[in-house]
Symmetry: C2
Subunit: 199 residues, 2 copies
């Protein structure tokens, strides 16, 4: 619930009073439950971060050829994003104004670096193309993945932030979105057998 308020108002724009109102309790009694909004933020982004890092230890991420592992991690990252949507949304919007926010940004960087390492290994094996710089490739891939928080609405209802140019939702399940991301990112949008006049 606090996470929804953070996502709607922005973390900076949320006060303990907003949180107590949303919880339906008095401003004084909310301090019996949490000592600060930063504590809540840490709990919420930890959930997202733990979910993402757990992927890197899964069987499919540590065994097999680098290409297979890269595809596995891509698919599972999308699935975690969808399964933990409000928490990952909050993580992706963190700005870096407090210690907790800077810690969260640091953990995101670490996750991105580990995934980039996997992609580098696949490039070295000749399984992934070498003509796109790996850091740029992983940034663009995460751009695609992370954009899902902007338009995916599990209940088909837009959230209160009003900031999306997309009116309708949902558009596929987590597994369907993960399929689409893996197909586009690894094989591209081009048809395998282009039409008669294709080049």
């Amino acid at each position: 619930m606090a996470v929804r308020v953070f996502n709607e108002r922005g973390y900076d724009g949320t006060s303990m009073e907003h949180l107590s109102q949303a919880a339906g309790i008095s401003k004084s009694s909310i301090y019996h439950h949490v000592s600060s909004k930063e504590e809540l933020l840490r709990w919420a982004v930890s959930r997202a971060i733990d979910g993402l890092f757990a992927v890197l230890d899964e069987e499919g991420a540590v065994t097999g050829r680098p290409l297979e592992r890269a595809q596995y991690v891509t698919r599972r990252t999308v699935e975690v994003l969808v399964a933990e949507l409000p928490y990952v949304t909050l993580l992706l919007r963190v700005r870096g104004n407090t210690d907790t926010e800077r810690w969260a940004l640091e953990r995101r960087r670490e996750f991105d670096h580990r995934v980039a390492g996997l992609f580098s290994a696949a490039v070295q094996e000749g399984e992934l193309r070498g003509d796109v710089e790996v850091r740029m490739a992983t940034r663009l891939l995460f751009g695609m993945i992370n954009s899902v928080v902007e338009w995916y609405r599990p209940d088909g209802v837009r959230q209160g932030d009003g900031g999306s140019p997309y009116e309708e939702g949902p558009l596929g399940s987590g597994a369907e979105i993960a399929d689409a991301v893996v197909r586009i990112a690894f094989s591209g949008l081009r048809a395998a057998n282009p039409g008669p006049a294709g080049d």
Copy 2:
């Protein structure tokens, strides 16, 4: 300059006083220059929107096979985004709280729909894969393209918002980023000739 302030503070968080301070003039004299911050927003997002829509009328977007046109529009959209970085950044952050913001969101939707139409035509021609729903494919593509505003810094210096998990920049020119996006989006990250044990 006003655009930089909007991007740093967020449009909602920017007052006419912030704008006059950044311009180095008094709060009363700024009204000789602009009547409201909404007027400034409209001017700035118009610049981004006009730049994007102009792409759709260029020769490469209206002639040739749908696949070529789709690739052309993708490449040019990235180039416009990089060339008009602060204006497109502002456009992508618009939330929909005022008439101008809602108008900007509506124009973004229209642009996305026109691009999606081009991709649909390429799917019908058998030039683009049909196993990823076109709306999802264009959303993911725009996710990849639009993420560039989060990490591309033409001067190599991070902006004051502190909200990026990426420390360094730049990472390629506009043309290099456009190349990377077109390669990944249309042909995928996989090497054309996978390594010995590739499948």
